[in-house]
C-alpha cells in the first residue's frame, strides 16, 4: 500500500520537443482508465504541479506512459530527467474516465501532442466494437507522433500536416468535415489538441449535429476540486475540469474564455522563464503550450 517513489523506467524522444516517459506507478497503473490524467511535480517544495494525460499503462509492470511537449519551465525540467530519476509528486488517476460505448462509427481527431491522450481513447473505442476513423495532424512531419500505433488501432487513419511535409496538406478540420458528410454520419466525434483546434473541430461538427467530446487542459493546482483554478464555462455554467472533466461537450465549451485564462498564466511563466532560453514564446507557442497536458 505504500506508494513508492515514482521512478523513470524508460525515456524516448519522439520529436524535437516531444518526449515519452515510462514511470513506475503501480497504484495508478492499476486503477487508470482511458481519458484520465495525473498531476506531477519534479520538486515537491517549490515545484509547479502540471497535469499530463496518461497515454498508456501497464498494470502488470506497474508503469504508466506519459507523453509531453517541452514548452514551459516544468516540462523543460521534465525533459532533462533520465532513466532512474524520480518525481517528487505523481498523483492520480484523476478526472472522469472517458465514457466508452459501442455507438457505431466514431471519428477521433488528434492535433499535435493531443494525439497522445487520444491514443488510449481510440484503443478503448475500438475494443468496444466501434468503427473508428482517426485523423491525426501536426504542423510538420517532424512533429507527427504515434502514427503506427494509431494505424494499428483504427479502421481508417487520415494523416495531415499544416505544411504538407507529410500526408495530406490540410488542417484536421478538413478531413473531419468530409467524414461528417459521409453517408453513415459518425455518431460521435472526439477531438483532442490545442484549444484552438478543439474549438474549430467543435465548430466543424456543429452543423452536422455530431456529438463532440473534447478533453480540456487547463491550469491545475490540486486536481481534486479544491481550488477552482481549473474552472471553465460550459453551457453557461462554471465547471471544474479536474473533477467534472477533463472531457466535455465541445459544443458547450467557452473556448475563448479558457484560452484567455491559459494565456494569462503563460505570460507569467514567460517571466519566470527569462533565464530559460531556448523557448520561442510567440502566441502560437502559447496556445500549443496548453497541449503540454496532453
Amino acid at each position: 500500500m505504500m506508494a513508492q517513489t515514482p521512478t523513470i523506467l524508460e525515456k524516448r524522444q519522439l520529436s524535437e520537443n516531444v518526449f515519452c516517459l515510462r514511470v513506475s506507478a503501480p497504484l495508478i497503473a492499476r486503477e487508470r482508465k482511458a481519458g484520465q490524467f495525473i498531476l506531477l511535480s519534479i520538486d515537491g517544495e517549490f515545484g509547479e504541479r502540471i497535469p499530463l494525460t496518461i497515454a498508456d499503462a501497464d498494470a502488470e509492470a506497474g508503469s504508466i506512459t506519459l507523453i509531453f511537449q517541452r514548452v514551459g519551465m516544468t516540462t523543460a525540467k521534465l525533459a532533462s530527467l533520465n532513466v532512474g530519476d524520480t518525481l517528487a509528486v505523481l498523483v492520480g488517476p484523476l478526472g472522469q474516465p472517458t465514457h466508452i460505448e459501442n455507438v457505431g462509427t466514431v471519428v477521433c481527431v488528434g492535433g499535435g501532442i493531443g494525439v497522445a491522450p487520444l491514443y488510449p481513447i481510440v484503443q478503448a473505442l475500438k475494443a468496444a466494437g466501434n468503427y473508428v476513423v482517426t485523423i491525426i495532424g501536426a504542423r510538420n512531419k517532424e512533429l507527427m507522433i504515434l502514427e503506427d500505433e494509431m494505424r494499428a488501432q483504427s479502421d481508417e487513419l487520415i494523416v495531415c500536416t499544416d505544411d504538407g511535409s507529410y500526408g495530406r496538406k490540410a488542417l484536421v478540420t478538413q478531413p473531419l468535415k468530409e467524414v461528417c458528410e459521409r453517408a453513415e454520419k459518425p455518431a460521435l466525434a472526439v477531438a483532442i489538441g490545442p484549444p484552438i483546434m478543439m474549438k474549430f473541430c467543435a465548430e466543424t461538427t456543429r452543423p452536422y449535429a455530431v456529438h463532440t467530446v473534447v478533453s480540456l487542459n487547463t491550469i491545475m493546482v490540486d486536481g481534486t476540486g479544491m481550488c477552482g483554478g481549473c474552472r471553465v464555462t460550459v453551457g453557461g455554467e462554471s465547471k471544474f475540469v479536474c473533477v467534472d472533466g477533463p472531457e466535455f461537450d465541445g459544443h458547450q465549451v467557452d473556448f475563448d474564455g479558457m484560452m484567455k485564462r491559459l494565456q494569462a498564466y503563460r505570460n507569467q511563466e514567460r517571466q519566470a522563464m527569462t533565464d530559460h532560453e531556448n523557448h520561442a514564446c510567440n502566441l502560437d507557442q502559447a496556445y500549443r503550450a496548453a497541449t503540454e497536458t496532453k
Binding site: F46, L90, C227, G228, G229, R261, E269
Partner: protein, 497 residues
Amino acid sequence: MSHPTRDELNARAVAKLAEIGDAGASLKPKERMAIPSQDMPAQDPDVRRNNTSEVATGYTEAQALLEAQRCLRCKNQPCVQGCPVAINIRDFVTAIADGDFQSAVNTIKQTSLLPAICGRVCPQETQCQAECTLGKSLKDPMQSVAIGRLERFVADWERERGTISVPEVKPATGKKVGVIGSGPAGLVVAADVRREGHEVTVFEAFHKFGGVMLYGIPEFRLPKEIVRREVETLKAMGVNLVPNFVVGRTRKLMDLLEKDGFDALFVGTGAGLPNFMNIEGENLVGVFSANEYLTRANLMRAYEKGRAATPIAHSRKVAVLGGGNVAMDAARTALRLGAEEVHLIYRRTEKEMPARVEEVEHAKEEGVQFHMLQNAKRILGDEHGLVTSIECLRYELGEPDASGRRRPVEVKGSEFEFEVDTVIVAIGNTSNPLIKQTTPGLETTKWGTLVADDNGQTTIPRVFAGGDIVLGAATVILAMGQGRRAAASINQLLAGE
C-alpha cells in the same frame, strides 16, 4: 496606531507581578478583576505586512503568570461549557498561575491534542471566553481571561523546551485502520487509534500533511513548523503516512475495506469545494477562489519569489469578497505578496463577520480597507480577459432572518465601480463530492456533507467520518472533537472483535 512592544508589555507585567508578590494564590476576586488584561505582543504592522513571520509573538512568561491570576476560579466553570472539547480550563489556568506549566499542558492534553494550534486559531471570543465570568463582570467579552493565549503559551513552552513526549503505543493488535485526509480531524484519529496498538495508515491527496492548517491558514498566523511537529509525532508513533493518494481515484474507498484488509476507515476529507458567486466575470483572469490563492501562496510558496515555480498574479489592487477567517487570510496574504491596496467587501456589518476578532483587528492595522454593507455585482475585464474593475452594490440591514441576524438587503440603484486587477472569492466552501461519488451507499445530506451519527458512524459499516466533511466548513477544534469521538468508536469496535 502604535502598540507597546513586547519588552514594554513584559516590563509592565513583571512590575505588576512584583507588586502581587506571594499573595497570588490568596487574591480576592476584586483584586483579580483589577489586574489589567494582558495584550498579545505582536510584530509592528508596518513591518509585518512585508514578511510572513508570525504576527502574534506570544505572551512572555510574566504576562502568562499575570494573566492567569485574573481567572476568578469559578466553581461552576462556565468557560468549560463554552469549549467544544470541554478542556478543564480553570485547572490549567490555575496551574499556570502557580508556575506549573507542565501540569497545565498535561491538563489541556487530556482533552485536546493540538493545543499549540487551537490556542492560535480557535474563535475563543465566541467559545470559552464568551462565557467567562470575568468578561461578564467587566461587561466586555474582550476583557475575559485570555484563555487561548494562555493555552498557546504553555503549548509553546513545552515544544520549545523539547519536552513533548511521544505517546505510548500499546502492543500490536493486528488490526488495520485507514485515515483519509490529514487535516486536524484525521491527525487526531490517527493518534488516538494508533495508541491502542492498531496499525494506522493516513492517505493524503497532497504531497504534504496537515490539511487546511498547512495550505489554507497562512504562516503568519500558524507557523507550519508547528503542524510539521504534530506530523513528526505521529511518525514517531509508527503511523504510516502516504502522500499523493486520492481515495476514490487512486483507490476506491470500498476497495480499501474489502480488498486491502482495512478493518475500519475514517473519512476526514474536509470542505474542499470553493463556492463562487455565480456573477458575471467570475471566470476572468485574475479571479481566484481563496483556496487557490492561499494554496499557491502557502503550499507552493508563491511568496518566495524567484524560487517558487507556481506563479501567482502580481496584484496591485485586490478585492476580497467575504468576511470570515478565509477572507482575512486572503486579504493579508495579498498584502504580503506586494499588493498596494486590498479592499475587503462584506455584505453585512463588521459585527456579523464570522472571522476571529483578532484577525479583523490585525487586518485593519496592516492596512486592509474594509467596505461593509457592500457586495459584488459583476466583475469587468478588458479584451484579454484580464480583470479591470469590480462593480458593487450597497446594502442595508433589514429584518432579522431565521437565525436572528438582520438580513442585508440591496439598495436599488446603488451600483458603483472601482478599479482592481485581482478578485479573491472567499464566500465559503462546500464538501468535496469525490468520495461520495465513488462510494455507493455513502449517504450525504442535502448540503453534501456526509451523514454521520454522534459517534461518527456513516451509513456504511466500519466507515466513520468527522470534521468539515460532516460539519460543513467549521473549525479546527470542532474537527478535532469529532475526530476524537470517531476514534473512540473505532477503538471500541475493534476491541470487541
